[in-house]
Symmetry: C2
Subunit: 374 residues, 2 copies
């Protein structure tokens, strides 16, 4: 198997699994219970949250644990009863909740980077939240968040000077970022940040929302009052323990992985034939988006599957519904270019040999398809 779809899902690493294991069985207690073994579980849970928080330069009490990034993104929008702006290339879990808030999209350039002038032209005194993913899930595009944050500070000062009290928050979905970027909430200048265990070799359905102390948030669900009342429900202890271990591992391998994926990218781009590279600039090296114009990339996915090579045409959840990628449309690709686009995302399961092999299989699949059309 050559798995090149790490942006869709990552396997749990053995260290993560080993860390989680005791919390399914001997340490199964409800963290809210009054006796000592339960309090030990509560304290292990807190320690895990502390590890995750520290990794992004935050405090334990700034994190609200959620059942994944979708919930965290939706929860972030509960910080606003005002108008919102969001990047047009956001994941559906931001885009759809932003639409519910009547949000306006901010456009991107052909590399998928935010057009700051477009953001500025859409800024009004009613805007309360801006949501821009740190790394796009289809292109790997890294957004200049600190530039956006600097502009937001200007807007805040301007509002202050005019006696306008509407707050303005910056939210970023960092689901795809933690593998290769050093994420720090202060340096990025974000008020709300979404994290996702499932993309960094941690468990599925585990995520977190960083919430700056300035933000007033209301919960999506109410109940037992866990997570400072912001997210009720018995804590997912093994999940959060696994998330913390995944964060530790990710931070440890950040530099090594950067080099590794840069090399993978270089190899595959030099060995592949007759493609156009879509994500040329400002992209994580683990993301390679190729366009084979005139070819149906979905057919490439199936041909490659026969060789044990697993790739995708875009976001898994959108692809499964047969929807045209709104991300590729936003960067100006035509329908036929979108149809011919393939996303490869590298990860821990890959070796250099696999990349050479993948290049060969992809070339063959493309050739097969081209000859069908010839």
């Amino acid at each position: 198997m050559i798995y090149l779809d790490h942006a869709a899902a990552t396997p749990i690493s053995s260290r993560v699994f080993d860390a989680m294991k005791p919390y399914f069985s001997e340490d199964f207690f409800n963290p809210s219970a009054a006796y000592l073994p339960a309090k030990k579980v509560a304290s292990d849970y807190e320690a895990a949250k502390r590890v995750i928080a520290h990794a992004i330069g935050a405090k334990y009490s700034d994190l609200v644990m959620t059942a994944g990034a979708t919930e965290a993104n939706n929860l972030a929008f509960n910080a606003t009863d005002g108008k919102v702006l969001y990047l047009i290339t956001e994941h559906d879990s931001v885009r759809k909740v932003a639409e519910q808030h009547g949000g306006a999209p901010i456009n991107v350039d052909k590399n998928g980077r935010i057009l700051l002038d477009d953001l500025k032209s859409k800024m009004t005194d009613e805007i309360m939240l801006i949501s821009v993913a740190l790394v796009n899930n289809e292109l790997g595009t890294i957004q200049p968040l600190s530039e956006i944050a600097a502009y937001i500070r200007e807007v805040r000062l301007d509002r202050l000077s005019r006696g306008i009290k509407q707050p303005l928050y910056l939210h970023s979905d960092a689901s795809q970022a933690l593998n290769l970027l050093n994420v720090n909430v202060a340096r990025l200048g974000v008020d709300l940040l979404t994290l996702n265990a499932a993309k960094i070799y941690g468990p599925k359905a585990v995520g977190a929302l960083y919430v700056s102390r300035d933000v007033k948030l209301s919960p999506l669900s109410v109940g037992g009052g866990q997570e400072m009342g912001l997210r009720s429900g018995t804590e997912n202890v093994p999940g959060v323990i696994g998330f913390a271990k995944a964060v530790e591992e990710t931070c440890k391998h950040l530099n090594g992985n950067r080099k590794k994926y840069a090399k993978f990218k270089q190899i595959i781009l030099s060995e592949l034939k007759d493609y156009e590279l879509i994500n040329k600039k400002h992209s994580l090296d683990s993301f390679v988006v190729l366009c084979y114009n005139g070819i149906d990339a979905e057919r490439l996915v199936f041909l490659l599957e026969d060789k044990g090579v697993y790739v995708s045409t875009g976001a898994a959840c959108a692809a499964s519904k047969g929807e045209k990628s709104h991300v590729l449309a936003a960067i100006g690709l035509s329908d036929s270019e979108i149809a011919g686009s393939l996303r490869l995302t590298f990860g821990e399961t890959n070796s250099e040999e696999q990349i050479h092999e993948a290049a060969k299989f992809i070339n063959e699949a493309v050739e097969t398809e081209r000859s069908r059309h010839a």
Copy 2:
């Protein structure tokens, strides 16, 4: 260790763990991805949902998987934009969301059973949802849901005959029920039913909401459109696989467990001294709620902890906040009776020997406390 707090948390059984394990590693794929191994994961996930659905007499497509019962309870209330009624003894995850909907509580008798006359007196044409837990989480009280459902059918017919279009739904939180009751949505007559893996030796943070086809529900979170658009986010594949295995095991051991816990209850009640039994009638045999009037039950919890006996004073999430039990207040206990109340809940980790031992330790602890006050 003698663990007598199975209503707060249950360990994952080894069969459940073994069932989940492959989905953390080799079968880690995103169920929405297009290639075969991912489709296999999607089909295993569907099969697991089918097992859970069939166990309650429902169809696969009637279930919305959630990150636990709290989310499922909150989601159930998204079926209504009208007024709601809820049992006064409901878990906080129902009570608080019902309060957000301006809900009115229905009173209970001294056994914690619904007062049907009180329900009837509060019924108006504006009521759209009634929420009554099948089994109360503090007392184990089983509610006469089919009687409630029969009354609701009358109300519906009456509304119909008067040309009133407001629908009326019955929701029940069955989190604590699956261990000892044969739960069937048609027989119970519910339109919405909450299930919880964490109380039946399945994983924490995994639950489901059964939604009858008549109910129009809107999601709490939006995004990739998973769970028929009612609950977005990458599916918690290992969690749901584990849930299904836990349901299978539970159904298999239902009759044996009923007998076992009935015997445990009989043993402990005959060996304990100087208590008052609170949940005398209509209660699951796995729940024993005792009152030692004049004693602080929290001190008993700590004394018993020293002997390795783990019990609680009520719902873990409420107990951790030092709140007085609203359930015990609702059945008419005085503050001092509430302060002296201890909840024991039996489960798979218990043996008959443990029950004898627990009785001895509890008697000793009570004696120690009484002598302190003498």
